[in-house]
């Protein structure tokens, strides 16, 4: 019986990791397509990101002469850390095998270490663009990470756990009207936009040297290294969408030990949720203009403030 459960959990875990890996370029393609359609352009086909990845993987990887060993291994570290972080988030089922070994704070730590290595790689070759990108990324991270921690505290105070499966189950059971959760959602959306280098913070479609952050760091990469980094950033976008969906709209998640058809329904609902999230992101990015880099601290400061205020308000209502 226990073996059966173990096999079940294992297969769910593997299928969810594969789903995230295979599905993430499609989300990137969807966002690009919707954005292009909103601007009345045709836009690249939905499967274009897959073709890009395959093309990059076939190409020769050119490495700068001044690059150290760190430059070569960073793409693998970043990809691995991001993928493991994505594996910890319940996408269509809560009975994940890995989720008992790690919680939300581990996810933040994994993403943080991925960013740390990427920033190092940006500075490794010694070009000025990489340095600019790394320093800007560090500036964004110093504000985004505390904000994310405050959001986690807010969610943990409401749900009584930092374990995402437990959080999702408690949210499903209903926690009443909580202004703190609304603040946490708002702050999480701001942080997700900043972390994924999306529109008001960074423009993912441009290589304009004055404004780019993420693209500046990966400017020196080519071939399979670049393919891995692109895939990692696609997974990161999907990860944040899944995180928001899992905590704030957990309906449709298959509970642990549910039969197969419930899991299939859960997967369909999940794909629907992510599709809606991608469309909303595209609409938001079309409506808004990019900020000046020095306005970004104000934008992220709002997220930090919302997270902190959410925690404070919860303390008041709990101590009554």
């Amino acid at each position: 019986m226990i073996d059966m459960l173990l096999i079940n959990g294992f297969s769910i875990q593997i299928s969810q990791m594969l789903l995230v890996l295979l599905f993430s370029p499609l989300l990137t393609g969807l966002v690009r397509k919707v954005k292009a359609r909103l601007l009345r352009r045709q836009g690249p086909p939905l499967l274009q990101p897959y073709r890009d990845l395959i093309r990059l993987a076939r190409k020769e990887a050119v490495v700068a002469e001044s690059a150290s060993w760190l430059f070569r291994i960073v793409p693998y570290i970043v990809f691995a850390a991001t993928w493991v972080a994505a594996a910890l988030i319940p996408t269509f089922a809560t009975g994940l095998l890995f989720s008992w070994s790690a919680d939300l704070i581990v996810i933040i730590a994994l993403l943080g270490s991925a960013r740390f290595f990427l920033a190092l790689a940006g500075m490794d070759v010694g070009t000025s663009f990489g340095g600019i990108g790394s320093s800007r990324e560090a500036m964004i991270a110093t504000l985004a990470e505390p904000a994310l921690i405050m959001i986690v505290f807010t969610i943990a105070l409401v749900a009584g756990s930092t374990q995402l499966s437990t959080v999702a189950n408690i949210m499903l059971a209903g926690v009443g009207l909580r202004v703190s959760l609304g603040m946490a959602l708002f702050a999480l959306v701001i942080v997700a936009l900043a972390e994924n280098a999306r529109m008001p913070v960074d423009n993912p479609a441009t290589h304009l040297e004055l404004t780019m952050v993420h693209e500046a760091m990966v400017l020196e990469y080519s071939g399979r290294h670049l393919a891995l980094l692109e895939l990692a950033s696609a997974i990161k976008l999907l990860l944040y969408c899944s995180l928001i969906a899992c905590v704030f709209v957990p309906w449709g998640l298959a509970p642990a030990g549910a039969p197969l058809h419930v899991h299939l329904i859960g997967a369909a609902v999940y794909i629907g949720k992510i599709g809606i999230a991608g469309c909303l992101l595209a609409i938001f990015e079309t409506l808004i203009a990019k900020m000046r880099v020095f306005r970004v601290p104000d934008f992220l400061g709002a997220a930090l403030m919302l997270g902190f205020l959410g925690t404070l308000l919860l303390f008041v209502s709990r101590s009554l």
């Binding site: 009443g176 703190s180 403030m305």
Partner: protein, 220 residues
Amino acid sequence: MDKLAFDVAHFLAGSLVLVSLMLLYQDRLSALLNVFAFQAVVLALSVAWQAYVQDAPHLYLTAAIALSVKAIIIPVALHRMIRRLGIHREVETAVNIGPTMLGGLGLVALSMVVILRVTAEADMYAREDLAFALSVVLLGLLMMVTRRNAVSQVVGFMSLENGLILAATGAKGMPFVVEISVAFSVLVAFIVIGVFLFRIRERFDSVDLQAMDDFRGERR
């Protein structure tokens, strides 16, 4: 039902604190006035909910006064005023948003710690409203301290008064006469301040209060 009633009261009062912090965040005058009007709407909703929960019909009147005077009349008048002063597109440059927000959050934390300690025996609604009201009052004061433009200071003063109304409605049995007189004194203060704004502008060609300090020979 009781749980839901409390949750809604918490939601509205918490939103009021949030809007007060949003006031600190704005550096454009017309945006500031819009947020101020929104704060008054949230206040009116919060007071109306208290009226429903406490079964006190006179509080509906307080909510109506807050809605009509503070959400409509004063913001519209202030909008016209900054238009006549020609400063409706002005950006406040002296504010440093980051430290101000941190200070504001510190004040919110402080008021919650103080009120929750002090009012250990009071009614649940009163405690919560008092904690939030004190933070709104302190945030209004912070706004008056950090801004240099006279119109922003007026907005800070009005938002401080919004905090007082929240405190008054949370405490059961506040006489209606008190609330009416507070509301009207604010209206009178608003008119007096409005007159003064134009006098200041006549003298100094600006509503930046730095000019007055310089005139008095004060050094910063």
